[in-house]
Symmetry: C2
Subunit: 268 residues, 2 copies
């Protein structure tokens, strides 16, 4: 594909990983903006890019401007960009494309992954959700996305928000279940290491099998004796509540009371 000249606004985890992936795929990373110049330089120095800490230094000739900032920072940045970029996109799951209405050529480039600076990632497997204001811009974004990943999806702002909500359950909430498990283990002087293989296996299983079908455990079997034994061990009211609500929800799903959708349909 055509190699693009791309500037990245924001040098956090998404900016870091995206800039590196773009560079590796042969695109030019023209400029990297951060309020803190050193933060931008930490990324730019390996990518032959220019680090900048003022939006007035943005080069308007870039083919694409990518906003890699937190959801809440987008309006202010939009306000401060006072030229018409060839194309500008944001990378936020829960922000509508409308946030960029000020610009003639706009889109969204949302990578569905959790990023940490010190954890390297194979971008080729990261689902990229794209949206644009016109078929031409969508086509350009699709080509760019395909140059980075084999998993490219076109999603409207409404669907992207639903997807972001689902990801909160799949990532943030499951991680919190791991955190609760860790706290219970450490409180009882048992190494958290004992749970690491079962955590891996839980994630591996749903790569192949629907999580609804993969569900096991006392709630799923409605094993009230074990449920009560567990409840009596939880001395924190917050954990008791989570234990009982999640257990009830597991049973509801098992009984088909929820969700109002046909999982089998998806596997046709």
């Amino acid at each position: 594909m055509q190699k693009l000249r791309i500037s990245i606004i924001g040098a956090g985890n998404v900016g870091y990983h995206l800039a590196n992936a773009l560079y590796k795929s042969g695109h030019s990373v023209l400029q990297i903006y951060s309020r803190n110049l050193q933060t931008a330089q930490n990324i730019s120095e390996n990518l032959h890019s220019e680090a900048i800490n003022s939006l007035s230094l943005l080069n308007p000739s870039a083919d694409l401007l990518i906003l890699c900032v937190s959801d809440s920072a987008i309006p202010e940045l939009v306000n401060q960009i006072n030229f018409q970029p060839k194309l500008i996109v944001h990378t936020a799951g829960s922000v509508s494309i409308k946030a960029l209405n000020k610009f003639e050529n706009r889109g969204v480039f949302y990578p569905m992954q959790t990023f940490s600076k010190n954890v390297s990632l194979d971008f080729g497997n990261i689902p990229l959700c794209i949206e644009a204001d016109s078929p031409e811009n969508l086509s350009d974004l699709r080509l760019l996305a395909q140059s980075l990943s084999k998993a490219v999806y076109e999603l409207s702002s409404e669907k992207r928000l639903q997807c972001h909500l689902a990801a909160v359950f799949a990532n943030n909430f499951s991680n919190h279940m791991f955190a609760i498990a860790e706290s219970l283990m450490l409180k009882n002087d048992i190494p958290f290491d004992i749970l690491k293989p079962i955590i891996m296996e839980t994630a591996l299983k749903v790569q192949q099998v629907s999580p609804l079908q993969a569900q096991t455990g006392p709630a799923s079997r409605n094993d009230t004796a074990t449920l009560q034994k567990h409840q009596s061990l939880l001395d924190a009211p917050d954990l008791e509540k989570i234990y009982s609500f999640v257990s009830q929800s597991i049973l509801n799903y098992k009984l088909g009371a929820m969700p109002e959708i046909d999982i089998a349909k998806n596997n046709e």
Copy 2:
């Protein structure tokens, strides 16, 4: 180590995987019991074992009898075994060693993993939690466990129950978060595949980093705008409750209000 002659009672997922792992490690699988003879035969035929469907056929000369049955089935089985085995163990996380008090030589052999018959597992990485009524029996179980896995832990019945409860959060509850995510995706006609890489990454991250430190997302940042946007999308009261309680709990953990333990201590 010494190769043992072992009989397995129960031909479910645990029995299947344990019998195969014992055989591969050079032990003899003497007999496999199931109420359904065919189920026992499905396992025994590859392991040069005898399949039986009556407890009266159990060979008392076995070095070890392993009960691989559901928690609730243990008392009835104990009742029906009318000889003194050289050593007998159960494999249940939430059942005390006292359930085997009728026997002179008893213990527990609890593999911390989720088993499915059609998913092959490397037993060498599965944490095995052992307990016994005497130092001699504990030593024998430790040698056996070490012949199967490099992760062997001695846990009392009380600690094992705590560990089992923690595993419910780490495995059953995280899987339910995946199931809720799946239901939200399918309800909105978005492929669940989009979430599979982030699910893998979530599990991978906590192999290295404490889940408390790995926590991200709107609840963790107390991003009330996004939290409200998400809440308004959830039309099922059960999911709303889970969303708000888990979000609140994430924030509590972040603020150190819970748990009352020092995570840093564990990483010393």
